[in-house]
Symmetry: C2
Subunit: 360 residues, 2 copies
């Protein structure tokens, strides 16, 4: 087992990464909370709920099983968790355990941030994406019918338990979507890691435990380094959105039905890299290497042509990071070195999108 310590002062916590953490580890006995609420969804419950509950003998354990899917990441679903906690008369010494992917983690984290104005929270992420992304940073929340993640809180978990065995049952497509975020960390801040991913692609695709442990730990370290510098997202943390401003627009314009989040981010990273190349920030060779890496992990690198450049721009302007009508982009100045900008050439930005996307 490898442990990554997330250093946030009094809100610091460990991420434990290894095999067998859901069956034979001692972390459950170190949890002091007596009242335990496991929140999961209909898909994960049959696979892992029983063994997770079995970890907490001699404690009061309840579970809340949510419907599965991004469309249930809502205030209504959140209320199901509050109902369960109140029915069980859980007090502010309880802990909520999120057993699932990003949606379960985000809703459960926000429930923990809000129940009695804040209770403990432990994450057991069951997808690669959740293991490398939502396990670091403390972002929790739900969607509004007209906007993703519009409602939420910053709330750090007490611990993250990343059991690599769970990845063995993860569908290939979801595994690849998680790899998009792993590749992102290399692209924005660690070209050595990017090279390591190249060298170890086959082992990762085979779900080799030691390769996964390294890739996940390094991803968490990268994200942790940025988050520690900017916990409440004033500046540098925005670098984590490399590919995401484009990606969010693609997801939104396709009603979140065509691509997994990681897939949209892969296309978004391709676009951001291509635009960086157009601006002279990276070489054509560096861009090509990034694209090949995404392809090696079976990720899409281009979108449909039925999305127009105008609709892309309109959608990107609605992004949470846009200010005063400026689309803030994360761009590359050399591979492994991202920066935030809204001072780029607007005409070049538009003409790049017009080249890639359909006209009206």
């Amino acid at each position: 087992m490898k442990t990554v310590e997330i250093d946030l002062g009094s809100r610091s916590y460990p991420i434990h990464i290894g095999s067998g953490l859901l069956t034979q580890s001692d972390w459950p006995s170190r949890l002091k909370n007596q009242q335990i609420c496991i929140v999961t969804n209909e898909t994960i419950a049959p696979l892992y709920l029983a063994q997770t509950k079995a970890l907490f003998k001699d404690k009061t354990v309840i579970d809340v099983i949510l419907p599965d899917g991004e469309k249930f990441k809502s205030l209504d679903t959140l209320a199901l968790i509050f109902d369960g906690l109140i029915d069980a008369a859980f007090d502010r010494t309880c802990v909520l355990i999120a057993l699932g992917g990003g949606v379960v983690g985000d809703i459960t984290g926000y429930a923990a941030a809000s129940y009695q104005r804040g209770v403990d929270f432990v994450q057991i992420p069951t997808t690669l994406l959740a293991q490398v992304d939502s396990s670091v940073g403390g972002k929790t929340g739900v969607n509004h019918p007209r906007g993703k993640n519009m409602i939420g809180a910053f709330h750090q978990p007490k611990a993250v338990i990343t059991d690599l065995d769970i990845l063995k049952t993860l569908p290939d497509r979801e595994f690849s979507a998680g790899m998009a975020e792993v590749i992102k960390y290399g692209a924005i801040m660690d070209s050595t890691f990017l090279q390591w991913l190249d060298d170890n692609a086959d082992a990762l695709l085979d779900r080799d435990v030691s390769a996964l442990q390294y890739a996940i730990a390094r991803s968490c370290e990268c994200k942790a380094q940025i988050v520690a510098e900017d916990e409440l997202e004033g500046g540098r943390r925005a670098l984590l959105n490399f590919g995401h401003t484009y990606g969010h627009a693609l997801e939104s314009l396709s009603n979140y039905s065509r691509w997994l989040h990681g897939e949209a981010v892969a296309i978004g990273m391709t676009l951001a890299s291509e635009f960086s190349m157009a601006l002279g920030g990276i070489t054509a060779e560096a861009h090509q290497q990034l694209v090949e890496k995404l392809q090696k992990f079976n990720l899409p690198i281009s979108a449909d042509t039925d999305i127009t450049s105008d609709s892309m721009i309109a959608s990107m302007l609605r992004d949470k990071k846009s200010r005063d009508g400026n689309i803030r982009l994360v761009l590359l100045e050399g591979m492994g070195n991202a920066f935030l900008s809204d001072q780029y050439d607007r005409k070049m930005f538009t003409s790049h999108l017009e080249k890639v996307f359909a006209a009206d």
Copy 2:
């Protein structure tokens, strides 16, 4: 105008207390936010919404008018605020202004804590209770159908604007309910202030602006002192619950329909003081003086007899502050000196309630 500075490090903020702050002050021009959402309710809107909106010329101002009443302090009502913010495409640089009493302040504060994971928040409390209680401490939230304030966040405002002129239109009964909390500050930590309240009772009951300014400022200072020592409610902050554990039980057992919160707290303080006297913490004379003060401000000092002592105990055990089956009480060791205890004589506690309330 008098300003009380609430010292909470990077979350510090001023409480401005004075006449005419809604009509002729310069605080609106000092707000940097361009997007302004005023949240109020159906009762307050006709009285003060237009003049509040008029303070923000040259800015984008929207309003959300909530139904009036504690029963609307719910997740459903909260969603109305999110709807308004999203419809107006407000981003994370916006500010929410709560124009109303405690319910409006609590819901709006929680909406501000949650919208895009946290935006600015200004309070314009329109009741004495909100001016001396919810304006300090950062507690925000909504009720669950089966529990008060079960869902929320700690979120400090950027400023509190307490316009004393608003109190001129406050109904007498609500004014008295606010005075219960004012008296509480004296009882738990400042016997000099308690004496001052005695000496200035007539001026206060006449809504004399300078007497009110002092009473509100001193109340805010008292609460601020305690909150600064214990922002997230680990220990000393519980002293603010003097009379509240009894009071919450009374409110809950009467379905929140018989007493205003401050009235229930007045009865609760009488009970807590009486029990403190029984334990030898205060003299009969000190107890009598507190009771007379409550009466002078037209507050109730005893409950119905149709509530049983058993139901009181059961309800008090459900209080958020109860742990492991112990009812934690705020008791007095001398007037002006409260302490927290769950080590008192249980039999005396029960027999005191049996004496005051009906048997089964």
